[in-house]
């Protein structure tokens, strides 16, 4: 029994089910022409001029300074430069950053 279990685990690792599931999900969304954010692996960013930026999706704060904020947004890092940057609200699913935003950049993980 223990041998079977071990072999099963190896097989599971080899197939990489997580990747497969995400691929299938992406294909499904593509075929049905659904919005990309429904896949759960995307981040939706909404900006109002250079005063507000709303990031929807799971995100962690990596660095936070007055003039620079670095967020982990799903598969990439989001870097916001500016002055007087404030995190007006932060919840499990979204973060609202206000201030004078001068630059928004993306860095691959």
């Amino acid at each position: 029994m223990s041998k079977l279990r071990k072999n099963g685990k190896k097989l599971f690792k080899k197939i990489n089910f997580k990747k497969k599931v995400s691929e299938v999900r992406n294909r499904f969304i593509e075929t049905l022409d659904l919005p990309q954010e429904l896949s759960g692996q995307c981040v939706r960013i909404t900006m109002i001029q250079n005063m507000q930026i709303l990031i929807e999706g799971k995100n962690n704060i990596i660095d936070y300074y007055d003039n620079y904020i670095k967020l982990q947004a799903q598969s990439m890092y989001l870097q916001i430069d500016g002055t007087n940057l404030k995190i007006a609200e932060i919840t499990d699913q979204e973060a609202l950053i206000t201030g004078n935003i001068s630059n928004v950049g993306f860095i691959n993980r």
Binding site: Y65, L85, I87, A88, E89, I90, D92
Partner: protein, 393 residues
């Protein structure tokens, strides 16, 4: 921000300062542990400030331990803290509580009873009956059974066919529908004549039923028969009928007034004074500091409130000072004034009492003209329909 979150914030919020090496981790942990924080500000390296709801503050303890940060409270806002601050001022609390209690108590009484829909029944009688039934000013709304009151009122006032009672705040609105009374002693189809109710010269007679007595051009006086309820025939017997028809006459109405060439006119000086006061049941009371030897025009602005059936209004008075000056006017001016005044008199007093009446022409006569003034007589020749049915006994 949902409603629950809003209530949390109204209850109390705290401005917190965090000092440590892992401030970003602190924010992330707050997010993960569902601790809502907002207005996060980075003061300098390793110091952040944010607002937190009073209920979530205790949850910070474990996060602070994990991140080894120092927590400092900088400010407190909200109802909870205000109440805590003033907890020892017992009189204020007592007054506040008594005020709330009084508001509640005053709202549980009837302050006004309003009756609508009555035409021939007197409002005072209905209110009296309502009082006997259990609805009156000063009664508590609690335990008021409207069905019972309605039944009692219908017993006390048999002329009421339907009653509806609405309680709107502290007012009771009683809607009443009265029984329709049949008009007695009127028998239009009975035998009778049409009799004149005014005097004048007959212009036209249209007979539907009966025989016309006067002819066109005749002067008739009040009470004379215009159309007799009889049909005469040479071959058949005289038949009694119900007289019907339209009689049009020309009648004269006179407007006479004496006018003087000297007229008093108001000359405003431009000086105004202001005062305040109140009116209780049409009795005006205001601060009177005016010079009694001078004359003023009073302009009043009021805002009314009704309390326990009494009308109280708070008024703002404006007094415009004027001087009376004498002015000489011409005969043409007097005639114009007289015509304007007579027109108002005829339109308001005479024409409403005329059936299908209209002015045919006007005669203006000047009498008693002397140095001081004159008398103007304006005669209106009005064409109108007359006639009143009178049953023959």
């Amino acid at each position: 921000m949902d409603l629950e979150e809003g209530i949390k914030r109204i209850n109390g919020t705290i401005l917190v300062e965090i000092q440590g090496f892992f401030t970003e981790r602190y924010i992330n942990l707050c997010r993960i542990n569902n601790v809502k924080i907002w207005n996060i500000q980075n003061i300098s390296g390793g110091i952040i400030r944010f607002n937190i709801a009073i209920k979530d503050f205790k949850k910070l303890k474990s996060i602070t331990k994990k991140t080894k940060c120092k927590v400092k409270i900088l400010g407190k806002k909200g109802i909870y803290f205000k109440c805590f601050k003033y907890r020892k001022r017992r009189i204020v609390i007592l007054l506040l509580a008594s005020f709330i209690f009084l508001c509640f108590l005053s709202n549980s009484f009837i302050w006004k009873v309003h009756v609508t829909g009555n035409e021939y029944l007197k409002e005072s009688d209905i209110i009296e009956s309502l009082k006997e039934s259990g609805v009156y000013v000063g009664r508590s709304k609690i335990g008021l059974k409207t069905k019972k009151v309605i039944n009692n009122l219908r017993v006390l006032q048999p002329d009421i066919s339907w009653v509806g009672i609405d309680i709107e705040g502290t007012n009771v609105i009683v809607n009443v529908v009265e029984k329709t009374k049949l008009k007695e002693n009127i028998n239009i189809n009975g035998i009778g004549d049409i009799v004149s109710n005014k005097c004048g010269i007959i212009q036209k007679i249209t007979v539907e039923n009966g025989t016309a007595i006067p002819s066109v051009g005749d002067y008739i006086e009040e009470g004379r028969i215009l159309i007799e309820g009889k049909i005469y025939s040479n071959t058949l017997e005289t038949k009694d009928v119900c007289a019907k028809g339209i009689v049009t006459i020309k009648s004269d109405y006179e407007f006479k007034k004496q006018y003087s060439y000297k007229v008093q006119e108001k000359e405003y000086t431009g000086k105004t004074k202001y005062s305040i006061g109140f009116t209780l049941n049409d009795k005006e009371n205001y601060i009177n500091y005016l010079d009694k030897s001078l004359t003023y025009d009073i302009i009043k602005k009021d805002s009314k409130i009704e309390l326990f059936g009494n009308t109280i209004s708070f008024d703002l008075y404006k007094f415009n000072l004027y001087n009376n000056t004498e002015k000489l006017i011409t005969k043409e001016d007097i005639l114009q004034i007289a015509q304007d005044e007579s027109n108002i008199y005829i339109q308001n007093e005479i024409l409403p009492g005329c059936r299908n009446g209209y002015i045919e022409y006007i005669d203006v006569v000047v009498e008693d003209e002397n140095e001081e003034g004159l008398t103007v007589k304006i005669i209106y020749h009005i064409i109108e329909e007359i006639g009143q049915f009178k049953e023959r006994i």
